[in-house]
């Protein structure tokens, strides 16, 4: 039975999106089913509109990804979370909404919010920085969820 891996990320210019995709590919390599979800922006729309590169990426990402839903979180055995190193507000707000629903699930935090993620009860393993690390860490997270590679 394939594990279900939910990849939730926040990205403005696409760099963290690439890390999230790399992690998603790692999960697929371990034959997980994946869903990719992007967190909505907390920044005021006028600020985003004043930034051409951000606006262009946002228009594209809004087409390619929906926001995480409650059913996605219930569905997932593995939560892969990615946020920019310098911007964790969107991810922290998301973590606040998780509550007890993720206690005991396997998590992977890509970014500087690993401690907050662990507070939700997620079992957070490695923290990855580069795309290849994200792929490898996601593979490990899925293996842990499948009960392979324990001990």
């Amino acid at each position: 039975m394939a594990a279900n891996a939910l990849v939730v990320f926040y990205s403005r210019y696409g760099k963290t999106e690439q890390l999230a995709l790399a992690a998603g590919v790692g999960a697929i390599q371990e034959r997980a089913n994946i869903r990719l979800r992007r967190l909505p922006d907390l920044t005021d729309a006028s600020v985003i509109r004043a930034d051409a590169a951000w606006t262009e990426n946002l228009d594209r990402m809004r087409r390619e990804y929906i926001a995480p839903r409650e059913i996605d979180i219930q569905w997932a055995e593995v939560l892969i979370l990615a946020a920019p190193q310098d911007r964790t507000a969107e991810m922290e707000l998301f973590l606040d909404t998780l509550g007890e629903s993720v206690r005991g699930k396997i998590g992977l935090a890509i970014g500087t919010f690993a401690a907050e993620a662990a507070k939700t009860g997620l079992i957070v393993g490695a923290v990855a920085g580069r795309p290849e690390d994200a792929t490898a860490a996601a593979r490990e997270a899925v293996k842990r969820a499948k009960g392979v590679g324990r001990g």
């Binding site: 995709l21 790399a22 998603g24 590919v25 999960a27 697929i28 390599q29 990719l36 087409r63």
Partner: protein, 236 residues
């Protein structure tokens, strides 16, 4: 033996932005009598509304190719490939160890009409690969134009897939006839993409398909007012 798969008996899903007809079980459409034919696993006819499409999603161990009849399909994937696929182009993706991609109608005003075909690969865990290129439409007029196959050096430029299967496209004018031998032990699937054709006397309209086994040859004829456009899959 020729077994017809009628257009209006296919699975059907209309999600507003997509109108999809499925020759074989796919997504919420599940019919144990129609899961695949040989290595041919998916034959979906999709119409996707302007600006809409499939968001980022993953594939593993599948050979996927798309045949666009009308419009353009923008493809973007985790290997960094970004392309717009249009009629008279060949495109194939080997998902192998894992690919994430998105596919959107490249137009903000016109729908895109396409066939998406999945072939079960002969081997798993191959490196992901994406291929796309254009050909001259006259190359499929009255002849079988190879789209994908397992040959690293095909007889004409074609996309490589990890399976002993070849797919060809052809446009046959009304009254035009094409003959194709079938090697012993081989099978074929003919899908009428648009118009009208007859396969060994069996009439096919848009969306119809036929499974062909234990036959020595195919005689395909363009019928109706304008003939037809079809895909032929040569399968082990």
């Amino acid at each position: 033996m020729i077994t017809i798969r009628k257009s209006d008996e296919r699975g059907h899903f209309n999600g507003g932005w997509i109108d999809s007809y499925q020759t074989f079980s796919f997504g919420n459409y599940s019919d144990p009598a129609h899961t695949n034919f040989r290595a041919l696993r998916v034959m979906n006819e999709d119409r996707i509304a302007a600006g809409k499409g499939f968001g980022a999603h993953g594939h593993r161990d599948m050979e996927i190719f798309t045949y666009v009849m009308e419009g353009g399909l923008a493809h973007k994937d985790s290997t960094g490939e970004r392309h717009v696929l249009r009629p008279n182009m060949i495109q194939a993706m080997s998902a192998g160890t894992g690919v994430i991609h998105s596919e959107f109608n490249a137009s903000e005003t016109e729908p895109v009409h396409l066939l998406q075909i999945w072939i079960t690969p002969a081997m798993e865990d191959v490196p992901p690969r994406y291929q796309q290129f254009a050909y001259d439409p006259c190359e499929k007029q009255g002849r079988l134009r190879l789209l994908v196959g397992p040959d690293e050096r095909p007889t004409e430029p074609a996309a490589f897939i990890h399976q002993d299967a070849r797919a060809y496209a052809c446009v046959l004018g009304a009254g035009k006839m094409l003959e194709r031998p079938i090697a012993r032990g081989r099978h074929a699937w003919v899908h009428c993409a648009q118009g009208n054709i007859a396969v060994n006397g069996v009439a096919l309209k848009t969306g119809d398909g036929v499974a062909v086994s234990d036959e020595q040859a195919l005689q395909i004829e363009g019928e109706g007012q304008g003939g037809g456009e079809f895909l032929l899959l040569d399968l082990a």
